[in-house]
């Protein structure tokens, strides 16, 4: 029976053992830095510490994502607030030599830069600070405190009320109020209930969930257990992409550790509440991010959605009431319960509370992972934190929300980044992928790229999506190749409307979004392609695509 006292003992012991060593050398071992061989860097650092006889004062440890993936592999010397970037294994001796002396200027990064200074971290608070493979470090960062405390001090409905008061909204994309969802599942009648964590991060260009799973897996487990307590479920599933082997490995390890300590399993903290977590692997189907398709996949079948209602909150996995929340949503829960809903509600804007994690990628200097308060203008995110567009090129558009979102031009950059403003701009918040495009990107081709994605990923169940995406893709191909006339463009616009209004699930309903938003803001690009097509049809010049 683990109690608050046990947790504080573990936490105390962990802190003491850390303070006994003067210098912690943190090496990022999340997927991005790992693929740049940060594991070798770590090994060499350990060797260098040993060789230089600094074992008593230096300790090398692997930590999760520090965010600035573009500059990896990253190494931080914790107490000295020094960050090294682009570290190679050969740099290890120099780094160890520099401890307690002048840092190695050649590879030193700037921790005061806007990239770090302007962030506010809740979901990522432990990322890059703790070893994701040790539960003790999570506990030392006040982990599982909220769980054990809540189980003894609060009723399930009390937890639901706290989450409702915090104003947290679903971070998977749609922004449905989390408290409302929890209340529905709490009220639903069922002999069993389930909690599913949606970690099927299929949106290309998004890697927030992967980073959290790899860097702070216990946070998800704690969030799930709290959700289970609030809605009355005793079984949870994490539905995670098979494409994330490292995340799966760390999650499995975390589950084992939590079970061993009695933080998952039967009678957690000596209460009557029991909660188990199992992992289910996705198998590469974007549509499984849709909740009814995800449920079909957890049940072992093809991931095809079904009409709602009934909503999963009433009839979900095997027909039982099921709560489905995104990774980032659940990752907010422990902190909300620890610090109180009022604290959380103070961050962000009136309708979009808290922070949001974004994955910056594409034509941007600081590719990586950031967390900012809701409502920060897009311009600040891209040019201040993100460092703007590299190679002296001009900014053209930022794409948010993946294949379901839209492209936002320069003129929309001063809007605050929250659910409502992005919707007004014709895009969506989505799960947090933010892809910047410079002047060299053709927006017709970008629309074609996303349509090809939706065409491939359409599950085939409903006709508008299955046939519509294929037809729209063909029209976009013709336009892009300069083979189309105004007739094709009109047909494309008509099809966008049909597919949007008649598809069964979110995939089809939002598939036209990239086309609609590029048509809205960059119509000129379509029209110049059409002009080429018209000219070709009239026999003036050969088509631009060279199809003749």
């Amino acid at each position: 029976m683990i109690s608050i006292e046990d947790l504080s003992q573990i936490s105390q012991a962990e802190r003491e053992s850390r303070e006994a060593v003067a210098h912690q050398i943190n090496v990022c071992v999340a997927a991005s830095c790992l693929s740049l061989q940060s594991d070798k860097v770590k090994e060499e650092l350990e060797k260098a510490v040993e060789a230089k006889g600094k074992k008593d004062c230096c300790k090398v440890r692997g930590v999760g994502c520090m965010g600035l993936c573009a500059a990896g592999p990253l190494v931080a010397v914790e107490n000295e607030k020094v960050l090294y970037q682009g570290v190679t294994p050969e740099d290890a001796p120099a780094i160890v030599d520099a401890i307690g002396a002048e840092p190695v200027a050649r590879i030193q990064g700037d921790l005061e830069a806007p990239f770090f200074a302007r962030q506010q971290k809740i979901v990522l608070e432990n990322c890059g600070r703790i070893d994701p493979e040790r539960i003790e470090e999570y506990i030392a960062a006040d982990g599982y405190l909220a769980l054990v405390d809540t189980l003894t001090a609060m009723t399930p409905i009390g937890v639901v009320q706290q989450v409702t008061r915090s104003g947290l909204r679903g971070r998977g994309g749609a922004g449905y109020p989390t408290g409302l969802k929890w209340a529905t599942v709490n009220k639903s009648q069922g002999t069993r209930k389930f909690v599913i964590c949606n970690a099927d991060e299929g949106d290309p260009g998004a890697f927030m969930d992967r980073a959290v799973l790899e860097s702070d897996p216990h946070r998800i487990l704690e969030g799930m257990a709290l959700a289970g307590y609030a809605v009355g479920a005793s079984q949870g599933f994490v539905y995670v992409r098979a494409e994330y082997p490292l995340a799966i490995k760390r999650l499995k390890l975390a589950i084992k550790q939590a079970e061993k300590m009695g933080l998952l399993g039967a009678n957690i903290g000596g209460t009557t509440f029991s909660f188990n977590v199992d992992i289910r692997l996705g198998a590469g189907a974007f549509v499984c991010g849709e909740e009814t398709a995800l449920i079909a996949s957890v049940e072992g079948g093809r991931g095809t959605p079904r009409p709602r209602p009934p909503y999963p909150a009433e009839s979900g996995l095997w027909g039982y009431p099921t709560l489905i929340n995104n990774v980032e949503t659940l990752a907010n829960i422990p902190t909300i319960l620890r610090n109180g809903p009022e604290w959380f509600a103070k961050i962000g804007t009136a309708k979009s509370r808290g922070t949001k994690v974004f994955a910056l990628a594409g034509a941007i200097t600081n590719t990586g992972l950031i967390e900012v308060p809701m409502g920060m203008p897009l311009r600040d995110i891209i040019f201040d934190i993100g460092g703007g567009v590299p190679d002296g090129k001009a900014f053209k558009a930022v794409q948010t929300g993946g294949p379901s979102g839209g492209c936002i031009p320069e003129s929309g950059l001063d809007m605050p980044c929250d659910y409502e403003s992005l919707a007004k701009l014709g895009s969506i918040m989505g799960s947090g992928g933010m892809i910047v495009m410079d002047e060299t990107s053709s927006m017709v081709d970008v629309a074609k790229f996303f349509m090809e994605f939706c065409m491939d990923e359409s599950c085939g169940k409903c006709v508008p999506c299955r046939v519509g995406t294929a037809q729209m893709h063909e029209l976009l191909r013709q336009i892009s190749a300069g083979e189309a006339t105004a007739r094709e463009l009109a047909l494309l616009e008509h099809l966008c409307d049909v597919v949007k209004s008649t598809s069964l699930c979110g995939l089809g309903q939002s598939a036209p979004n990239p086309v609609l938003s590029t048509l809205h803001y960059f119509r000129g690009e379509y029209e110049s392609k059409i002009a080429a097509g018209e000219a070709a049809a009239a026999g003036h010049t050969p088509p631009a695509g060279g199809a003749a």
């Binding site: 993936c69 494409e243 692997l281 079948g301 994955a359 892809i435």
Partner: protein, 169 residues
């Protein structure tokens, strides 16, 4: 005592099959273990051959048509044997913006390898993935299981040529 081969299970029950069986056992041979079983099978055998699909169908008491349906629905499963080396090119948005299509073009032009195809000598398979989540390292590819960052078409060509030359001796 040697165990009788299960009905409709023509392939011998070797160590690879034991891995699949262990997964099914862990899930109590329930029908919802299908995807997990297929993951294990693909890991053990390298791809999902028809005999294995049949055996999984028998063990989990699911119609073969459903097993085949699931195996073909998900991109992660492959029903064809893979080459000795695999090159999975990420074609997610960030990699697209940074030129993943150029990598695919050069692979097709130079080696006649498209997504999902294997070189005639069985050395190299080229696949595409919808985002491997390494957007900060775009364009990226997974070369024999290891993520390779910020690739140029020339680097990929060099790697494939290196793989192909191995069978010469």
């Amino acid at each position: 005592m040697t165990p009788e081969p299960a009905k409709g299970a023509p392939a011998p029950k070797d160590n690879r099959w034991r891995l699949v069986e262990a997964t099914m056992r862990r899930h109590g041979h329930k029908s919802h273990a299908l995807i997990e079983a297929l993951h294990s099978a693909q890991e053990a055998y390298g791809f999902l051959e028809n005999d294995v699909l049949r055996m999984v169908a028998t063990e989990l008491r699911i119609p073969l048509s459903k097993v085949y349906g699931v195996a073909t629905f998900y991109n992660f499963f492959t029903l064809k044997p893979q080459g000795r080396h695999t090159c999975v090119v990420c074609t997610g948005t960030a990699c697209y913006i940074k030129g993943a299509d150029q990598i695919m073009n050069v692979l097709e032009k130079k080696f006649d390898l498209k997504s999902g195809s294997t070189s005639p000598d069985g050395q190299v398979s080229v696949l595409t993935a919808r985002c491997i989540g390494s957007c900060g390292l775009a364009p990226a590819a997974v070369l024999d299981g290891a993520v390779a960052a910020k690739l140029t078409p020339a680097q990929v060509v060099a790697k494939v040529e290196e793989w192909m030359s191995h069978d010469q001796h």
